[in-house]
Every structure is written in C-alpha cells, then in structure tokens.
C-alpha cells in the first residue's frame, strides 16, 4: 500500500443533496446505509484526477469534495491507502462511528468547483 501523507488531498464523491445552502457539506456525506460510515471511501488525489474520481461510480448528480488526510487524522481517525482492482486511488477513512464524527469530517471538506459527474 502507498503511504498517505498528511498534506495529501483526498476526494470524496458527494451527492448534490448533501451540499448545503452555504456551500458547506452535511454530515450525511459521511453516512452510509449502515450509518455512520466507519470505512468512508475516498480517492487519493495524487493517483487520480477530479473528473475521473467524480465519475467513478457512474452516477449523476455527483459533485466532488476534497480534504487533506491530516484533517481526519487530527480527529483520531485512520487514513489508509486501499487500492482496488479497478481503482488504484481508493483509500479509506476509518473509524467514524458517530454522527458527531460525521459532522466533524464534513466540516473538513471543500467542494471542488466546476466538477460534476456526467448524468
């Protein structure tokens, strides 16, 4: 596995519905069907591109968020590279086990302007 440095950027695909009026991100962005997402999937930016990352799941209405790996680590979470067969950039933010943690993670995310998935 590749090393992820604190200053490395991570991409998180966001459904447009998770972006609030003021452009910040809802805690929902780090929920999963089993709430909350203790293994939040992200892409390591240096191994992919914004357009590739936002289109990776083939779904529409996706925007792209970015955060630096040092942010989740400062919250006590792990950030690990977890390459998949179809996605070498795949990585995980591990340990978000509460809504409050989802909220803290969401605050770290900035929306990448001008990037939207193909519908």
């Amino acid at each position: 596995m590749g090393e992820i440095l604190d200053e490395d950027w991570l991409y998180r695909r966001l459904h447009a519905a998770c972006i609030k009026n003021d452009g910040t991100i809802s805690s929902i962005a780090f929920m999963t069907n089993n709430f909350p997402d203790e293994q939040a999937s992200v892409d390591l930016a240096k191994l992919t591109t914004p357009v590739e990352s936002v289109n990776r799941d083939g779904k529409g209405h996706r925007k792209l968020g970015q955060l630096q790996a040092g942010g989740p680590r400062a919250l006590g979470l792990d950030v690990v590279h977890d390459p998949l067969e179809y996605n070498d950039a795949h990585s995980l933010i591990l340990g978000a086990d509460s809504k409050a943690m989802c909220r803290k993670l969401a605050r770290l995310v900035q929306v990448v302007p001008g990037i939207e998935s193909r519908t």
């Binding site: 459904h15 447009a16 519905a17 998770c18 972006i19 609030k20 009026n21 003021d22 809802s26 805690s27 929902i28 929920m31 999963t32 069907n33 709430f35 799941d57 779904k59 209405h61 509460s98 809504k99 409050a100 909220r103």
Partner: protein
C-alpha cells in the same frame, strides 16, 4: 398576481390533509393516514416505476408544479439548492418561502430512487415523509421558519431526512429516520457536541425545543 393554489396541490402534500397558509394551532394533531412503517431495505407499495424515469414527470398530484416554469426547472432547482419560490414572480413572505422550499425538498427526497446515494440506499419512507411534513408545520406555527437562519433539508441514505440550521446559539441537526423517530445533534459555540443516542430517540416536541434554543 393572485396566489392561486389548486386544491389538489395542497391536498397532496404528504399523506396528511394540509391546510393552506393560515395554520391553526388546534390543528397540531393533524389526521394521519395509518400506514405500516417502511422497511428501509424495501418499500412495498411504493410506485417503483418512478425510479426508472430520468426526472419526475409533471402531474396534477405533484405539489408545487404551479410554481415552477417547467419540469426541468423543478428538478434542477432542488438538486442545485435553488429556492423553488424564486421560480415564481410572487413576493412570498420569508417564512412561507422557507416552508415551500422545505416541503419541496421533502417531496424531492420521497422521489429519490433506490441506490441514489450508494448501493442499497433508499428514498424517504412514507412514515418519515408524513412526520417531516408535520414537523415543518409545527415549526411554522412556532415561528421557527421566520427566523433569520438558513434551513437545509437533506435526505439521508437510510430513508430519513435531516433538517439543519446554524443559529445564534450554535448549530443543530434534526434527523427523522425512516420509522419517523427523532434524533438531534447539537453543536454549541464552545465546539462541544451533544448527540441523541440511536437507542433513545426523542419526541418531536423536544427536538422543537432544542431548535428554538439554537435559533434564539
């Protein structure tokens, strides 16, 4: 321009019989349609054909079509976080505008197809929808929609919906889950978090009290 609200549009707001803008406090106990709680992993009885459409079609039973110029405007407005009320030239009072947008967001969440967020995610359940609509009306009655705080209404991937504000006294998220139960996450100005345990949901009235405290 007179505000003409087709009766059918009002009556189709959620599963409850809704009243047009003047809300009577005595109507807090709105009549509910009794429905089984939806299983978040499957929602029998829902019209699944809607999940195969690229966007919701115009229908006399779809609320707020009289506001939008067209179907694409309606969907685009909701997805891109635009105020639905701005698609009309009518000068809405702020609280009414907030209510319209909140109810429209609830309707949008109800139309979300399976897998909208990720594999296995579902749209808003019937129970969550009716509970959320009631909650919006209660907030309107309590004057909370007239507060100068931006309200965000966001669907959860597990069949619920979440109301979020940043107010004078901190921030609050009010989540209504697929079973219509309430949970809150309060962030105080000192940075501390206060979260409702998943095992111990709170009544709607408690959530309202917390919202009032945050909004000031």
């Amino acid at each position: 321009m007179a505000l003409a609200v087709p009766e059918k549009s009002v009556d189709t707001i959620g599963s409850t019989r809704a009243q047009t803008p003047t809300l009577d406090v005595d109507q807090l106990g709105l009549a509910r349609t009794t429905r089984d709680v939806d299983n978040t992993s499957s929602q029998p009885g829902r019209d699944r054909s809607v999940w195969h459409r690229a966007s919701p079609p115009l229908s006399p039973h779809r609320p707020f079509t009289w506001v939008a110029k067209g179907e694409s405007d309606w969907v685009e407005a909701l997805v891109n976080r635009k105020s639905l009320a701005t698609l009309s030239s009518f000068a809405f009072p702020p609280a009414l505008r907030v209510m319209i947008d909140a109810l429209a967001r609830i309707a949008y969440a109800f139309e979300l197809p399976e897998g909208w967020f990720e594999r296995g995610s579902v749209g808003l359940s019937d129970r969550a929808r009716s509970t959320a609509i009631d909650f919006v009306f209660r907030m309107a009655i309590d004057g909370l929609l007239a507060k100068e705080a931006s309200l965000d209404v966001i669907p959860t991937p597990i069949g619920g919906i979440q109301f979020e504000w940043a107010g004078k006294n901190g921030e609050i998220e009010v989540e209504i889950d697929a079973q219509g139960q309430f949970y809150t996450l309060v962030t105080l100005p000192d940075g501390s978090f206060h979260e409702t345990p998943r095992s111990d949901p709170i009544p709607a009235t408690t959530a309202l009290t917390q919202v009032k405290r945050i909004l000031g």
